[in-house]
Chain length 414, copies 2
Amino acid sequence: MAFDGSSYHLDFISTIEDWEDELLKMNGLSSVPTRCHVPSISPSNETYASSTSSSRPSSVSPASFNSSSVTSTSSPVLQISPSPVTLSQSVPSSTAYRGDYNFEISFEHQTKETKATTWTYSESLGKLYVRMATTCPIRFRTSSEVPPGAVIRALPVYMRPEHVQDAVRRCPNHATSTENNEDHPAPSHLIRCDHKMAAYVVDPYNGRQSVIIPQEQAQAGSLWVTNLYQFMCFSSCVGGLNRRPMQVIFTLERDGIVLGRHAVEVRICACPGRDRRADESSAASNSNGQSGNRKRPASKMNLSISPSGKRHRGEVFTLTVSSRENYDILCKIRDALELAARIPTRQVDQYMSQKMAAESFSHVNNMASVDSKERCSGRNVSMATIYQSASSNILIPQPGKHLYNMTLANGQSM
Amino acid sequence: MAFDGSSYHLDFISTIEDWEDELLKMNGLSSVPTRCHVPSISPSNETYASSTSSSRPSSVSPASFNSSSVTSTSSPVLQISPSPVTLSQSVPSSTAYRGDYNFEISFEHQTKETKATTWTYSESLGKLYVRMATTCPIRFRTSSEVPPGAVIRALPVYMRPEHVQDAVRRCPNHATSTENNEDHPAPSHLIRCDHKMAAYVVDPYNGRQSVIIPQEQAQAGSLWVTNLYQFMCFSSCVGGLNRRPMQVIFTLERDGIVLGRHAVEVRICACPGRDRRADESSAASNSNGQSGNRKRPASKMNLSISPSGKRHRGEVFTLTVSSRENYDILCKIRDALELAARIPTRQVDQYMSQKMAAESFSHVNNMASVDSKERCSGRNVSMATIYQSASSNILIPQPGKHLYNMTLANGQSM
DNA sequence: ACACAAGTAT
DNA sequence: ATACTTGTGT
Ligand SMILES: [Zn+2]
Ligand SMILES: [Zn+2]
């Protein structure tokens, strides 16, 4: 029996009995003869219908995008035989069901970080917004008398009737990338759980992929047990979820019997905060008469920006430089100058006033600081000056009587 | 010998000699002993470094996204041994070269369909906009005396210095999808040619994929031969081109020798018309005074809301300069750099390719001219270099052995 | 052809 | 955090 620190590898379990033994130990029990709480699980490679020369015939025929030509991974995962209630029906139930053990899930109340948060849960929409491949804590509660050997399964299911029958799996891009997949037992699974006992399951009959972890009792004084989940594709991933709304069905199971169930719609995206806000406001605007928010400025009505000043036409000057390093620098500078010339006057003004405002803080008392207005006029040094300077090497300062200081914004990559 | 009606399958050619025989027959010649005009081509499966149980070891180790775990396809393609001039250099030349046979390419003049067109070519930008997986006619011209056995190769190459060394290939999603890949010999190739003699080639040393077709003489009364190409990923495909600008290098070759070359930047997108228009108007707004078109609705945020463009970073570096003249110059440069940093990547890329195109006319024979690609990397001179240069006065060029020339657009008012 | 959606660069 | 890019639905 061995842990790999994050997720369970079948490499280290010779049989499902080992997993069950470990599970029971966690519940303070020793291995018992009846190990059927996860019925008929038998280890096997996760195998897709594929054109590879895999010697093991695959019984999985996933419905979604092109899985038939996806390479077979050699990652060990559990393959579970029919678990009628949970998996093998073509449309798993998503009905909330507390059950006899008061199975509940919830999300931590977030500490006011509404912005660049990695996940956020909308109570009003019952929808979780989570950034791809980040860790999202989900809390589970059961009454204390849950029999040992129970597990919590997380199963993703499409919400629209047209798609419910499709198994939810990662898109080929993400499933076959090395990114995040190194040493992971189930690269093609959308949902991962950081639990060390996590086992990745694929239903041989409908190809649905899920992850199970043992149900554990909350620690003393706590009602909730927190488990860490990761979602490994965007809801928008082409060839995968492909913008199809999806929910995760969490079931408390024992002996293949569902003891409790809760479903949460999950949107996996790059900007959970933005998207939640957008969803909630559009929901608000149509549920009540809140004409409140339009989503869009009605297109081309947009006030067009003033076209920037016209540029004189195509005359070209040639500057000869006798050092490669200076040549490179000057190329960069020329490019910056010519690009800068494309910026609308308004933006330049904005930049300038920012600059001036910023510099009112940066004056160092023992240095001469050129007055902003005066400095601005520095912009009018003629290009010829620089040409001359560069080509005649007079960039060598005269041993100075004054020190000027100049501030530069960070992040300038040259 | 058999045709499949659209592209050439190695299934039907037992050896490259068959391909060559056919090629010569098309040129009105019978098979001849010397078949080396496509050097050392040997048929083989295209095989990626992969974790599949393919018994055939792969010599190809492509650079791009996750190819190492992509399934091996069983589609036959040609694998070409080193063709030094064209393929095996890590950065293939893209210099236009008419050569002795006046090799030229062009695009049909489009019949006013500016809208939902499937492809459009911008003469001003030298850039082709084409919808993915549609057929795009490209016209080739050579003088009539081209020796028999010549081929035309289409090789995609990334344009930015950071990516030029990556082989351009389809993203895993599209490469492994069944869509468009049924019976195609090269599902992972970005570029397809509808020619019945098309042969798909992969360089075993750098993984670059290309397609070759025989060069043919124009029909009587016509200068041009039209060939039909397809581009099988979006320029934006995640895990593939991934928004990286790309060009296609067309070479006229015989016996592995490049007889002529032309490169065309290609953007594969969903809306060629829209995107061309966007590119051209952003280009126009800089190069001439065409106040005509704005590029952007100017994001009403800018107009209505706080002008307080906050510097996210706010870090400020202070540079001391001991000459007033240099101080003025550096102020100007700093402003240009910081303004230039606000320009969207796309516009910068466009500026760069215009620059490169313009310079192809300005090469002066008795001056060393730094290759455009190489020069681009000059943009990566770190800011620290300039700081250092400016503050330690090392802008003094070493008495040069080379003269570099640099062109500057007019109208730069400093 | 327009407008939205949603990842990403800045 | 903002706003641009770009595929997609209508
Ligand atoms: Zn994905
Ligand atoms: Zn693609």
